[in-house]
């Protein structure tokens, strides 16, 4: 691909006591593209997402390398600049939707807060629109609810709404469907696909579930033992896996064809 990628990174990350988790991971995400990152639990996928947002220190980790986003190295960006970037240009959707919402703030306030973080304008209109986009009701009663009063599926939609409020160029989705039941999972996947189509949002979709990744992503990268062992289009990965680990992953999905027909959105 001759285009300059939206995101281009080369990363090494480690935690004290745990050792190196990412060992020279190299990835590119093109504008408008959904890149799926697949690996075992604990293989450092979440670390990668946090690293991109320069939030790894939050979990006590440290990283090195380069993260070129729109040709600026985020590694060298100041915390102030990063703050301007987070939630506006790059946003995050996390894996446990209920825990990721502040239990002591209403849904409406959290949305509003996300809006005000990057805009002084009145956000009501945008919020309503976004809620509609993620198929959430827009009535006041809903906005006045606390996260504990939401179902997991609703909470995930709220999280996604919050993440796309500012129409970011890059959305980091960290196992967004792992806590969801199969039906809700399908709905959320569909939602991601639609957001990608409608907003042209590029996504780094992190998951251990090869199946959901295959259904959504344009390209898949396989992460194993802190390195990217294989990259390619879903079709290539499934039909012609190169790396031994990829083969294992693919073989672990025996009823793939049968299930995927049901799940892949029309």
């Amino acid at each position: 691909m001759g285009l300059t990628p939206l995101l281009s990174l080369y990363l090494t990350a480690e935690y004290p006591g745990k050792g190196t988790v990412l060992n020279g991971v190299s990835l590119d995400v093109q504008a408008g593209e959904i890149l799926g990152l697949v690996g075992q639990s604990g293989s450092g996928k979440s670390t990668l997402a946090l690293s991109i947002l320069r939030l790894l220190h939050f979990k006590g980790g440290s990283d090195s390398g380069s993260i070129l986003f729109r040709e600026t190295d985020l590694m060298k960006a100041s915390e102030k600049d990063m703050r301007k970037l987070r939630g506006k240009d790059i946003s995050l959707v996390m894996q446990s939707p209920l825990a990721s919402l502040n239990p002591s703030m209403t849904v409406g306030n959290q949305l509003l807060e996300a809006w005000r973080a990057h805009s002084k304008l009145d956000g009501t209109q945008v919020i309503m629109e976004t809620l509609r986009q993620v198929s959430l009701s827009v009535d006041v009663a809903f906005l006045n609810r606390y996260p504990t009063q939401l179902s997991v599926g609703l909470a995930q939609r709220v999280l996604i709404a919050m993440a796309v409020l500012h129409k970011p160029a890059l959305l980091l989705a960290d196992e967004p469907t792992s806590a969801l039941d199969a039906l809700t999972q399908a709905e959320i996947l569909e939602l991601f696909a639609r957001l990608n189509r409608e907003n042209a949002t590029a996504m780094l979709y992190v998951s251990h579930d090869l199946l959901s990744v295959a259904s959504l992503c344009h390209r898949i990268a396989i992460l194993h033992e802190g390195r990217i062992v294989e990259q390619g289009e879903p079709k290539d990965i499934f039909e012609n896996p190169q790396h031994e680990y990829t083969r294992k992953l693919v073989n672990a999905v025996p009823t793939l064809r049968f299930k995927s027909r049901e799940l892949i959105p029309a």
């Binding site: 935690y15 004290p16 006591g17 980790g61 825990a99 239990p103």
Partner: protein
Amino acid sequence: MKLRRIIACLLIGLAVLLLGARWVAPHGYEQQFRDFIAASPTKEFPLGTDALGRDRLARLLYGSRLSLLLAPAAAAVSVFLAALIGGLAAFAGKRWERAILLATDLTLSLPWLFLILTIRGAMPLDVQPEISVLITFLVLGLLGWAGPARVVRAGVKKIIASDFVFQANAMGTPPRRIFFHYILPNVRPLLFAQFWISLPVFILSEANLGAMGLSVSEPMPSWGNLLRELESQTSALEHPLQNWWLLAPIVLLVGVVSLLQVWQQRPKGSL
């Protein structure tokens, strides 16, 4: 981590020093050098002598042994009780909660001094100092649960409302397992907080109970009564630097407690 290793070395060194007090200290803690009263440090007495001419270094070393062993135990007992009772209050339903809160409030307002006097009255006068000090710390530990139990209860209530407990419940995990495996481990920071708070407090209370005849008695030293000794050293407090050796017990206590704390604190992220 490097820091932890250094601290561990320091603590082990101290433990060796204390255990070997008999060889480290130049004199016995009870030996009175009546010609060297309240002396300043010399080669003979590295930390000077007390009002009866006893070697301060020996008293500090011997005194630290008992306190350093028993105060953490007492703190652990009280924290354990607080965790159990506070956890139960939040966990075992409204009726239990009310009963436990009632007991907590009662415990916080009763004049326990008189129970302590009664315990003293029930013991023989010439009880072994080791036994009486053990009883002292046990009493302290047993009576210390009420305050922290309230805080633990609030913490547990918050945890109960959390997802993973919800999920565990949804998966049909038995309540006992939820209590011990889901809730208790997660109030750990609160419990540690309580532990570190009560540790020095227990050491000081021991001296107060000693004054009621319930702890070590003359000539045995303890951290508590070494610290209490400072209370009458007004002139030393006015010029702490000229009288640094008198402050050794405080420095040692603060140092040890702080070192233990830092050592216990796991680096963030690995929790």
